[in-house]
């Protein structure tokens, strides 16, 4: 057992947990986006999709619990890693300039991650744990997104997700060790495309609602 514990507590082990959970969230984002896009098929279609989901019963609960567990792992590990990383350079440089490795996305992972976490809590409170007695999810959604300020924040957070994913996808593959001269460039491109699709897909909804 000590092997497993030591593995998971090591720098690489923790990063690999980040990678696996991160990729799982990418899958989740994909399904979530597909679901959200039902909104373009009209209110009924969207509500029926929501009902359909709810009708899955225990399955949906298992999935939710899984996601919550993954989120817990992802966030708690991130905190440990960020603290360790800060400690590993107690004195900062008077001047630090990138030599060309980092991107805006990679340099801001802790920040975009924090934004996403805040958004996630808010998002769950306003939609999932909101009072559903006399409103459908569509109502809640349309109502909140109709507020331009809310919509603006929503888009901002979606952009944060986009940035996070922009670096996260290829980074996760690299951390798991899936790197190959032939496929890594493809993974990079796929990661960028994925982040663009996710950002555009999610952001299009408030935009459509506000502009309507």
């Amino acid at each position: 057992m000590s092997w497993t514990v030591r593995m998971l507590n090591s720098s690489i082990g923790r990063k690999q947990i980040m990678a696996v959970t991160g990729l799982a969230f990418c899958l989740f984002l994909t399904t979530h986006l597909i679901g959200n896009l039902f909104i373009y098929a009209g209110e009924d279609a969207f509500n029926s999709y929501v009902e359909h989901l709810h009708s899955l019963g225990p399955l949906i609960h298992i999935a939710e619990m899984g996601l919550a567990f993954f989120a817990l792992l992802h966030v708690s590990n991130a905190i440990v890693l960020i603290i360790r990383n800060r400690l590993s350079r107690p004195t900062r440089y008077a001047k630090y300039k990138s030599t060309g490795g980092r991107t805006l996305a990679s340099a801001t992972m802790p920040y975009t991650g924090s934004l996403i976490l805040i958004f996630l809590i808010f998002h769950l409170l306003t939609l999932k744990f909101a009072d559903h007695t006399d409103k459908t999810v569509y109502d809640l959604l349309a109502q909140s997104l109709a507020n331009p300020i809310y919509a603006g924040f929503y888009i901002l957070f979606i952009v944060a997700v986009g940035f996070h994913v922009f670096h996260g996808v290829w980074s996760a593959f690299q951390t798991i060790g899936l790197n190959h001269p032939k496929y890594t460039p493809l993974i990079r491109v796929a990661g960028i495309l994925f982040s663009l699709v996710i950002t555009a897909g999610f952001a299009s909804i408030p935009l459509t609602i506000v502009l309507k």
Partner: protein
Amino acid sequence: MSEKNISLTLRVWRQAGPHVKGQLITYHLDDVSTDMSFLEMIDVLNEKLTLRDEDPIAFDHDCREGICGMCGAVVDGQVHGPETATTLCQLHMRHFTDGDTIIVEPFRSRAFPIIKDLVVDRSGLDKIIQAGGYISASTGGSTDANAMPIPTQTAEEAMDAAACIGCGACVASCPNASAMLFAGAKVSQLALLPQGKAEREKRVWSIVHKMDELGFGNCSNERECEATCPKEISISHIARFNREFTRAAFVSREK
């Protein structure tokens, strides 16, 4: 090469000892030939300081041809200076312009405590190698060198990793002060070669834990190490390192 002379303002980190507070001190230097190397420029400054009976700037250096890995400082925010694939001793003043102000700082990392001025203690890198960066082959018992063919491509890739000079630039430039490229290069080299396969699980396991124990940070794939590495070692070796680690975790029979 057209040589000319430039004037510079240097702001150099001066710190008398490990536990003393340091600060950036400003020096002006005229008549710096653009054909000088960065270290020769510091030599010239040190000669002047010596004649003024001031303490010359302490800095590590030895071969001055970019292979021993002894030199290194952060020049204007960049490890080994603005040129890619270059050690500090191979950085030439032709890459600076007249009137420049240059900030020179030591490598900074918890694992690299400062000894004096620009000199840091990089023994952590040796400790990583001692943890397992070797093949346990004793002298005298080896079979013929050609007994085990190694495909050119494998040998070349191992050589790419083996080119590491252990200067610590990867650690210094990493936003997390991680030693993943240094350690990964060694693990990757020995994992690629058939001779290194016998110990691969033990090796990667010990190295990762030694690295963590020494206080190096984690890899967040920022790729600054690869961009700054004087030997241009690819982060694909970090990926192999990660892979070796996972493999070891599942394959090793130890509990």
